[in-house]
């Protein structure tokens, strides 16, 4: 019968088969004894003779089983048992190896899974590599990311030769008031051209996509909602199609639900077709408020697409010099945009975890080699007793496999828990972080690596043992065989490599810790303590003009001022740390020519209420704050940030100077007098400041404002009161983006903190593993050289001498490793530079502290075996082996 059937039989009926063979042979022996006695032998003789005639009874039985085909499984089981016994007999070795394997596999699998899901897994778009994001550029004013003009977009569609489709959408997401059956709430939404979803290659799971009919003027209002919105608002009811929603006061028909994985632009939950009507903003070519996405035709490279679009842009520049002067086009792969900010960190993480894996393998190899060295005697004896080479090798293989499998399984557990921990601690805005699970491929890969290591290094001693001359070995005492020179060299090299890797990781972690420290200590320019912040975005179909904005916010400001538990309150257009969104307005300083105006960077435009600065703890450096007297019918005033003042009035008093929004001759923006200078705020990124420009909100009212309230106690306790204040003015108005400034600050730093945490974790792992390696090697050397040490002691060596000898050995290896690691780290740390803030990649403090720290720990790791060496009793050591 086929071999696997035999295998199964061997497993099932193992005992039965054993017993049958035993019984049969036993019968034979007894019959032989009987006959022998009949021939005249004594019972003893008869028995001896009977057995002798069989020769090696075990071998005979084994041969029988072999014939039956069940011997293979027998051997396997035997090897398994033996391997298990051997492993249990040396618990410290086994535990350490298992730990090393488990940690290595666990950590690698966890991180790899995370990176795979977040960065490497494809987006729910078709052929995502063909997708690009399109911005306009204006090299003249130094901008390489300018919003797109709708009219330009239309011409691009007609004139390009490299795109399948182009779609257009606003450059920022909107906060819309949505009312279903319950209270009004804010939802993030956006307009898109009708081909948006089909361009991306993603379809609604319920209902239908937009069609060109939906974006025609006069078409009935439709909307597509996100999976999350569908779950929350409609309880995943499949009858949602056809239901109506009030969006900003307009009734829209829900026609589709997007799949769960679709999240573009990030955070948007409702998509509405962009309808262009005569006379609206879409008709003005110079109105730039959009971005575009496109799908490149297959076979066309990004470079080709870029140069074709350059051609189109140049043509448009000539055709429409007023609106398009100096305007270019920039294509960015969409995947870069979505993942861009996270890719470097995660890739660094991958690198780190790869190193950890390598250290683990080196460690396991080392441990196996050490063990093998001390088992050479066992092998020699077994060979002498008749074990075939193949048998020996197979048995060692089983042992290694056992180790690898058990270690790997524990590692899986660690990976599973590890992922849960990693996800829980991660910043919430890492895309797809919640989708991270253990990846089958990843597990298979890491398992394979550790299996390979275990097998490879477990087998080396077997091959060595097979070649050892048995006689020679049994004659001499074990420790005379210094393992062979090759093995020792190999193991030393492994330790050097381990230490080097550990150093590299520790340097990386050290740099990130320093960087994060610097980041935390950035002077934000404001005091976030106890500041509640919320957003009010007015329903623009209800509040149609600036007067209505002004009135509403004036009322609200007044009410909020009088709330109990408030130290002060204020409002601003966009609060600090709003992310990459913001209002960039070009400006002119009085005295600048048009040419000079064009070279100005954009200002960070803000409108503010009186007491805003006080509430936020932003110091007023010169002049005054806005007051209630700065109204729509009084003189136009402005407050600028410190950098603004320094740049444009370096040695003068900015108070009294004039600036305006827009070009020098743009009539609709009046000249404003500077009345105050405040410290720079961090409105966009934490790491940098911009040219802040504030106007009093009555003079430039907008449909939205962020309120800030400095509270006496817990900021969040005031949310309800604020809400009521809003409802008292308009019961259909919702509030959103409720948080505290402290949370915003923490959130901004969360990425860096996370990176630092992960890297430190790896560095720690690497350190632990490599120190175990150092300890292991040194222990082994000491045990091998016990005789020699005993001799030295007997000949008069002092404790100090022995300590120096052993420590010297260990620290020598460690030093080489440290040196190697430092050199490599120095050479490659520039890869981390995008993750570091104000810390150079060759930061001397880090490069100094790490080796010192590592040496100290290595010292401890070496000290223990050294202590053992001292305690060697020369008499005992020299006598036995």
């Amino acid at each position: 019968m086929s071999w696997w059937k035999q295998l199964l039989q061997g497993l099932w009926r193992r005992n039965e088969i054993h017993n049958e063979i035993d019984e049969e042979l036993q019968f034979h022996v007894e019959m032989r004894i009987k006959d022998n006695i009949a021939l005249g032998m004594t019972e003893k003789q008869a028995k001896a003779n009977a057995l002798k005639r069989f020769g090696n009874m075990q071998k005979v039985k084994s041969n029988c089983r072999e014939v039956l085909g069940v011997e293979m499984i027998e051997n396997l089981i035997q090897d398994f048992r033996y391997g298990l016994r051997m492993l249990l007999a040396t618990p410290s070795f086994t535990i350490v190896t298992l730990l090393a394997l488990a940690l290595g596999i666990g950590a690698t699998s966890a991180i790899f899974s995370m990176v795979n899901t977040v960065v490497l897994k494809p987006l729910p778009f078709k052929s995502q590599e063909e997708l690009v994001l399109i911005w306009e550029t204006n090299p003249l004013s130094g901008h390489d990311q300018v919003e797109v003009s709708y009219q330009n977009f239309l011409d691009w569609q007609k004139q390009n030769q490299v795109f399948d489709q182009i779609a257009i959408l606003p450059s920022v997401n909107f906060d819309w008031t949505m009312k279903g059956k319950e209270e009004p709430q804010q939802v993030t939404g956006i307009f898109v051209s009708a081909n948006f979803f089909s361009l991306l290659g993603s379809k609604p799971i319920l209902g239908r996509d937009f069609t060109p009919e939906d974006e025609k003027q006069g078409a009935s209002s439709v909307a597509i909602i996100s999976y999350g919105l569908w779950q929350r608002q409609f309880g995943s009811d499949s009858n949602v199609i056809g239901q109506k929603l009030l969006l900003e006061g307009d009734s829209v028909n829900i026609i589709g639900v997007m799949p769960q994985a679709f999240d573009f632009p990030s955070g948007v939950e409702i998509w509405v077709p962009l309808i262009s009507t005569p006379g609206d903003w879409t008709q003005k070519r110079e109105f730039r408020v959009s971005r575009a996405i496109a799908r490149i035709k297959s076979g066309v490279s990004l470079a080709n697409a870029q140069s074709d679009m350059n051609r189109v842009a140049q043509g448009l520049e000539q055709e429409y010099p007023e609106a398009n002067k100096g305007c270019g086009v920039r294509l960015i792969p969409l995947t870069n945009v979505i993942f861009g900010s996270d890719k470097p960190a995660l890739l660094a993480m991958l690198g780190a975890v790869g190193l950890v894996l390598l250290i683990t393998c080196a460690n396991v190899a080392n441990l196996l080699l050490a063990r093998a060295g001390s088992r050479q005697r066992e092998f020699a004896i077994r060979v002498a007793l008749g074990a075939g080479q193949i048998r020996l090798i197979r048995q060692l293989l089983t042992e290694s496999l056992l180790l690898a499998l058990v270690g790997g399984t524990i590692g899986l557990f660690i990976a599973f828990i590890g992922i849960k921990v990693l996800v829980a601690l991660a910043p919430v805005d890492i895309p797809r972080i919640n989708d991270v699970t253990l990846d089958g491929q990843v597990i298979a890969f890491t398992f394979a690596i550790s299996l390979l290591t275990a097998v490879l290094f477990g087998l080396i001693p077997a091959f060595q043992a097979a070649r050892v001359s048995v006689n020679e070995f049994l004659k001499e005492s074990g420790s005379r065989l210094f393992g062979n020179i090759h093995a020792n060299y190999l193991r030393n090299c492994l330790v050097i490599v381990e230490v080097a890797f550990a150093v590299i990781l520790m340097v990386g972690a050290g740099l990130m810790v320093r960087s994060f420290n610097k980041l935390q200590n950035v002077d934000a320019g404001f005091n976030p303590k106890n500041v509640l912040t919320l957003r009010v975005a007015l329903n623009q179909s209800k509040y149609t003009d600036k007067n209505s904005y002004r009135q509403f916010f004036r009322q609200l400001n007044q009410k909020v001022k009088e709330l109990p538990g408030i130290e002060s309150s204020g409002a601003v257009l966009m609060r600090p740390l709003s992310g990459t969104v913001g209002w960039d307005y070009p400006f002119t300083v009085q005295g600048q020519t048009l040419a000079e105006h064009k070279t100005n960077p954009p200002s960070n435009f803000e409108t503010a209420s009186p007491n805003y600065f006080q509430t936020m703890g932003i110091p007023i450096l010169k002049g005054r704050d806005f007051t209630d007297d700065d109204k729509e019918d009084t003189a136009f005033v402005a407050i600028v940030g410190e950098s603004f003042a320094k740049k444009y009035w370096p040695n003068q008093d900015p108070i009294g100077k004039s600036i305006k929004i827009g070009a020098p001759d743009e009539a609709r923006f009046p000249w404003m007098t500077v009345v105050g200078v405040v410290k720079d705020g961090r409105y966009r990124e934490w790491e940098a400041t911009r040219m802040d420009l504030y106007m009093p909100f009555p003079q430039h009212p907008q449909y939205r404002m962020d309120f800030v309230l400095k509270t006496k106690g817990n900021p969040l306790a005031l949310v309800k009161d604020f809400n009521n204040a809003v409802y008292e003015i308009d019961k259909d108005q919702a509030i959103s983006a409720i948080t505290t400034m402290e949370e915003l600050v923490a959130g901004t730093l969360s990425r860096s903190r996370y990176n630092m945490f992960l890297f430190s974790l790896f560095a720690f792992l690497a350190l632990a593993l490599s120190m175990v390696g150092v300890y292991g090697v040194l222990s082994y050397i000491v045990s091998q050289r016990t005789q020699e040490i005993g001799l030295r002691i007997a000949l008069g060596a002092s404790e100090k001498d022995i300590l120096t000898l052993v420590l010297g050995q260990g620290l020598k290896v460690v030093s080489i490793g440290i040196l190697l690691g430092l050199v490599v780290a120095w050479g490659f740390s520039h890869l981390l530079s995008s993750l570091l803030y104000q810390v150079t990649t060759t930061d001397p403090i880090t490069y100094l502290l790490i080796p010192i720290g590592l040496m100290l720990i290595a010292f401890i790791a070496c000290y223990l075996p050294a202590q053992r060496a001292i305690k060697v009793d020369p008499l005992v050591a020299l006598r036995c082996d």
Binding site: E24, F27, R32, F54, G55, V60, N63, V67
Partner: protein, 110 residues
Amino acid sequence: MSDNRLELLQGTLDMLVLKVLSRKELHGYGIARRIQEISEDILKVEEGSLYPALYRMEQKGWIESSWGLSDNNRRAKYYHLTTVGEKQLELETSTWEALSFAIARVMQTA
């Protein structure tokens, strides 16, 4: 040690076992004893090779086994020849006869 009994090659052992079983059903020990008896103690059957051979032949279908009771009421495994085995015996016998005839001729004339 001087042992005049001749060792048996595996192939030959197979043939002898088949022959012995063609007469009657026997257990392993019985087969060994029978061969020894008939050959007047010249042919020695290695216990170590007998049983593997029996198992092998059973795998090939030449013989079949069944548990039964021996003369002294002990459980023993008895083997008997199958029809396939009979054919095999014929085949091996004729091969053997041809072989020994040829060898005899060479020894006589060469």
